[in-house]
């Protein structure tokens, strides 16, 4: 434990690294604030809330949905449209006019989903009859995911989508992970402490394990810090309400494959992002060990990240095995979780999100195992050591 703490302290909690984290923390904050000022949707949502003219009606409507409330919203909505031609303005009716679609969506959600799952079940039966086992299974999965969903309480949760779809902090964590990987092995060579580690009684395998553990924990700390910043700033900027409402209360998340509430969905997204970050960081660590050089691994890793980002944006790689192995896709988990997409694994459908998650776990284990194995044998391509010069042999 002490060794692990020392590794953590030695490699990451240094002046340079803390300074870098601070800068990135400020950049992230700036990005959230500026983003909310330049994004058209966000500007409109914020200006509505900032005026605060509907706050009282919003509070009155919030909470359990009843037939009376629904009736009231419907009447208000009709009155609002009737008044549009006359130019009369009633604040309450105006609010109902604006909120009508959302209220109707949340009120009708259970019935709509029931119809939807019934359709999926019918499809499953049809495909069973036609002998198409894959699609039958897929439709059964869909029915299983979306069955028995309902929304009990009404909240205007639409602003949560700004929080859920915000990915910039992941990019910053990725850059910090890159900077951290550089300190894993090369610094040891540069400072001449590698020899001490190699001759340690704990053994090379243990040292590699501790280094990797410290590195992954460092990333965990970064994720906690940045996710808290994201959530706090978004909560302040958009005055987020309804944390305990199901995530499908947001119309854009009608078919979200996760059924929990907003809070658990946010944690779920970060777990997925953490897995993707671990996998790509495992690769960073592996490359940093294999090429123990000042610049080359950084360039190599940056190139690898850019390549994977570009690859993840290619539509032709959508929902293929190549996509599952691409950690960048899992770093944007919100897009994958919003609707059900499946991939064929051994002839059976599997939600893409879960398949990608498992693929990233496997990749992380592979990179960690490779790194530990190579560290034990001290097999690297370019090391910080003086290269052994070839002897010239004369006949």
């Amino acid at each position: 434990m002490k060794l692990w703490y020392l590794e953590l302290k030695k490699m990451f909690f240094t002046r340079h690294m803390l300074f870098l984290i601070l800068i990135f923390f400020l950049v992230n904050g700036g990005r959230i604030i500026l983003g909310s000022r330049y994004d058209l949707d966000a500007i409109m949502r914020r200006s509505e809330k900032k005026a605060g003219e509907f706050e009282a009606y919003e509070q009155a409507l919030a909470g359990e949905m009843t037939a009376e409330k629904a009736h009231k919203v419907k009447e208000g909505h009709e009155a609002y449209f009737a008044a549009l031609g006359t130019g009369e303005y009633d604040k309450e009716n105006n609010y109902y006019g604006l909120i009508y679609d959302l209220y109707r969506y949340q009120y009708d959600y259970a019935r709509q989903m029931q119809e939807f799952t019934n359709r999926a079940k019918e499809n499953a039966e049809l495909f069973d009859r036609l002998g198409n086992r894959f699609d039958a299974e897929k439709n059964r999965q869909i029915a299983g995911i979306y069955e028995n969903r309902f929304i009990r309480n009404f909240y205007d949760c639409r602003d949560f989508k700004f929080l859920f779809s915000y990915d910039f902090s992941t990019l910053l964590i990725l850059l910090l992970a890159l900077a951290g990987s550089f300190r894993l092995f090369y610094m040891e060579y540069q400072n001449g402490t590698q020899q001490f580690l190699l001759t340690s009684v704990n053994g090379k395998k243990y040292i590699a394990f501790i280094k990797l553990g410290a590195y992954f924990f460092f990333l965990f700390v970064l994720i906690v810090v940045f996710s808290l910043e994201d959530v706090l700033l978004h909560a302040v900027l958009f005055r987020l309400n309804g944390w305990l409402n199901p995530v499908y209360s947001i119309p854009d998340y009608q078919f979200c494959i996760f059924s929990g509430n907003m809070l658990s969905y946010y944690l779920f997204l970060w777990i997925l992002r953490y897995m993707a970050i671990l996998s790509i960081s495992g690769f960073f660590a592996f490359v940093s060990f294999l090429i123990q050089h000042y610049v080359i691994p950084i360039f190599f890793n940056i190139f690898a990240v850019i390549f994977t980002i570009l690859l993840s944006e290619r539509s032709s790689f959508s929902f293929t095995f190549a996509m599952l192995l691409n950690p960048i896709r899992l770093m944007e988990p919100d897009g994958l979780a919003r609707s059900y997409n499946s991939i064929s694994l051994f002839g059976r459908p599997m939600p893409v999100l879960y398949a990608a998650f498992i693929a990233q776990i496997v990749l992380t284990i592979v990179f960690a195992a490779l790194l530990i194995g190579l560290y034990r044998k001290q097999i690297c391509m370019i090391s910080g050591k003086e290269p052994v010069k070839r002897r010239k042999v004369y006949d």
Partner: protein, 709 residues
């Protein structure tokens, strides 16, 4: 010296254990690997073999006659059985009579699956009896056609090569060995010879193991049959026997293994690490394997292509589906010149790697070696040859396999009528016999709307356009199982595309809202059809051909094409341009031909004959020369539509008429109310007529069955 090295490796360093391990690994891999064979044949294997036992080999006229007669007899009995069943159900015969009559034919009917399978094999051989023999193919298919990288052999070669040439450097004993009497060129050459001998031996042992495995599992009968007897090799450009194909595969794999070993030796010499050299060489195999989904691309990467081997003998073939199951994947064949280039590169590459390593590791080598700049020149020349070879091989002339036809208003096959519901835009299918109407787009996560559709024997293709992004997606639905898949998508005329966030939040929003309407209209697809792996799309001023497996698009025709004036028949596109002139474009030979026809406003293809409606609303036939049907005037709203024997249309007096294709006589069909358009079925006499329905007074498509004729 070889003997000493052999002893050191196999006895002292216990490589024999590794070798045995690899033999066991190979066996385990063979046990658990999926072999793409005809599983139906395996299901009825004994009966199938028994049925075919007297017909195997060349398809002689006697065998042809006998097989044909047996199948006809089977069909006759099936018909008899159906008749008897109908009679029994109608109460015309008693159960005793039914049992007595059915009893005689039940033995044959019980064997119907075997007879069907045998008939398929017979039909396959009959297509080219001089190049195909009747044969039980599963064993040979498993041995030759299954593309698999021999993992056991690759691992063994990687480790052996890296260990043999990298271990001394890694442990710093190289200098001691180098200073001995034979430690210079002698030792290097001896190790190289040992390596080559080991590669050939190991490859032979593992290949033999594979052959023995498949011999026991499926059997490898008649090795003297031509390679085209196997369905996977039906288009093979090589006229060789099956045993010869095995030998060629062995040669390819051995050459690939030698190149791989020489690469590993080179890297081991440079890195001076056994594992690093092994991993780097391994990357040359596993990266292309992982990166390329299409089989063909892998064969252009050496040494991977050589180690896989079988694709070089295959020739082009399309995907073969049976009852919704993929029997064989599509494959673009590698031409013989391309194969020759790849073989040359393999041999040349092995030589260059050997020479470079030899020069560095032996005094003899450096003495005989040329000066450095000569080596550099040789390396540059070799690389250039390699690159040119790969480019030539990759851009070899494409072999087309085009056989479908397309024409607007083409009759629908079988008893299914596919259409897009005019009111809702939903893709539906009506089965005339079962009287059921089915929604075809069953994916609940997707809208059921379709823009355009095209139907062939096995699939229903349709397009969907996302208005926001301008993305046009082409899907296909398998007719029997309704299994749907996306085959291709492309961005056509982006208007406003809200990306949300892109590149991990680096770009938050892009709006492309300055696209003009004319650009959007120009990109709108007016027609499309699919032939094999090629997707043909027609927009306002061009016809494009896209290989939907890799997205490669070629513009075939650049001309303004009139609506309803395009037809396609087995690689030839017929069209009429804006000035009314008709052309035929041959895709394979890339040649235009002006058709000597008068100006027309509709074009239609039926039984490889072009029919047209001219600007005077007269129907004409073009079969090298123009023939007009002078007494007929076609309605403005009508298209031409054809069944097997007739062409249907609506005349200027809104009557549905048809022309008998064999007699050229016109007949009128009574429809009650005036008709405005007509659609026919290819194989049945039923037609759809667009007319005003009596009770609702709405215009709709009404089905008229064969009784009206």
């Amino acid at each position: 010296m070889i003997k000493n090295e052999w002893k050191r490796l196999f006895i002292k360093n216990r490589f024999w254990v590794l070798f045995l391990g690899m033999v066991v690994l190979k066996f385990v891999l063979l046990l658990f690997d999926t072999h793409y064979i005809n599983t139906e044949i395996e299901e009825y294997r004994d009966s199938y073999l028994e049925y075919l036992s007297s017909y195997t080999g060349v398809l002689t006229p006697e065998k042809d006659e006998e097989l044909s007669a047996r199948y006809s007899e089977f069909l006759e009995m099936s018909g008899t059985y159906t008749d008897l069943k109908k009679q029994y159900e109608a109460g015309e015969i008693t159960s005793e009579e039914f049992s007595e009559k059915v009893g005689k034919i039940s033995r044959i009917l019980n064997n119907k699956d075997v007879i069907q399978l045998a008939n398929e094999e017979y039909q396959y051989v009959k297509e080219a009896p001089d190049r195909r023999y009747i044969l039980y193919t599963n064993g040979w298919e498993a041995l030759l056609a299954n593309e698999r990288l021999d993992l056991a052999m690759v691992l063994f070669i990687l480790f052996l090569s890296a260990y043999l040439f990298g271990y001394d450097s890694e442990t710093d004993t190289g200098s001691i060995i180098f200073s001995t009497v034979h430690g210079k060129s002698g030792l290097f050459v001896a190790r190289e010879r040992l390596l080559i001998i080991m590669i050939v031996t190991v490859n032979a042992v593992l290949y033999l193991e594979e052959a023995v495995f498949f011999q026991f599992q499926y059997g490898l009968p008649q090795p003297a049959s031509p390679i085209q007897s196997l369905p996977s090799f039906r288009n093979s450009p090589f006229h060789i026997r099956l045993y010869m194909a095995c030998i060629l595969m062995f040669v390819f794999q051995t050459l690939g293994a030698i190149l791989l070993s020489q690469m590993t030796v080179f890297f081991a010499d440079r890195c001076r690490k056994v594992w690093t050299a092994g991993i780097i060489s391994g990357l040359f195999l596993f990266c292309p394997m992982a990166c390329f989904n299409t089989e063909t691309a892998r064969y252009f990467f050496l040494p991977l292509g050589m180690l896989l081997g079988s694709g070089y003998l295959k020739g082009s073939c399309e995907a073969v589906m049976k009852n919704g199951v993929l029997i064989s994947e599509p494959f673009t064949g590698i031409s013989v010149p391309a194969l020759m280039i790849l073989l040359s590169i393999t041999i040349l590459g092995s030589g260059v790697f050997f020479l470079v390593t030899f020069r560095k590791n032996s005094v003899k080598g450096s003495r005989y070696a040329c000066k450095k700049n000569v080596y550099a020149t040789a390396a540059v020349i070799t690389l250039t040859v390699c690159m040119l070879g790969i480019i030539c091989a990759a851009t070899h002339e494409e072999t087309y396999s085009l056989k479908h036809t397309y024409s607007r208003g083409m009759g629908f096959s079988d008893t299914d009528y596919v259409y897009v519901n005019d009111e809702y835009g939903i893709l539906q299918r009506i089965n005339i016999e079962k009287h059921d109407n089915l929604y075809l787009i069953r994916d609940v996560m997707k809208e059921p709307y379709a823009d355009k559709y095209y139907v062939d024997e096995n699939y229903i293709y349709y397009t969907q356009k996302d208005i926001r992004s301008g993305m046009v997606s082409y899907y296909r639905i398998e007719k029997n199982s309704l299994k749907e898949e996306l085959i291709f998508s492309e961005a056509k005329g982006m208007r406003q595309y809200d990306y949300g966030t892109k590149y991990l939040g680096l770009i938050s929003k892009i709006n492309l809202d300055n696209t003009s309407d004319s650009v959007l209209e120009k990109d709108e697809i007016t027609d499309f059809w699919v032939d094999g792996k090629y997707l043909f799309t027609v927009d306002k001023d061009s016809v494009n051909m896209t290989d939907h497996t890799n997205g490669k698009t070629t513009e075939l025709i650049h001309d303004m094409i009139l609506t309803d004036c395009i037809a396609y028949d087995s690689g030839i596109v017929y069209y009429v341009n804006l000035s009314g002139a008709a052309y035929a474009y041959d895709i394979v030979n890339k040649q235009y031909r002006r058709l000597d026809m008068e100006r027309c406003k509709r074009l239609f293809l039926c039984n490889s004959t072009l029919y047209f409606i001219n600007t005077s609303d007269q129907i004409g036939k073009y079969d090298g020369k123009v023939e007009l049907y002078p007494d007929i005037k076609v309605s403005d709203t009508s298209c031409l539509s054809a069944s097997k024997d007739y062409i249907y249309f609506v005349d200027s007096e809104n009557r549905v008429c048809r022309i008998n294709l064999s007699t050229d006589q016109m007949e009128e069909i009574k429809t009650g109310t005036p008709a405005y358009n007509v659609k026919a079925f290819r194989d049945t006499d039923g037609i759809f007529v667009y007319q005003q329905a009596v009770p609702t007074q709405d215009f709709e498509w009404v089905f008229l069955d064969q009784n009206i004729f």
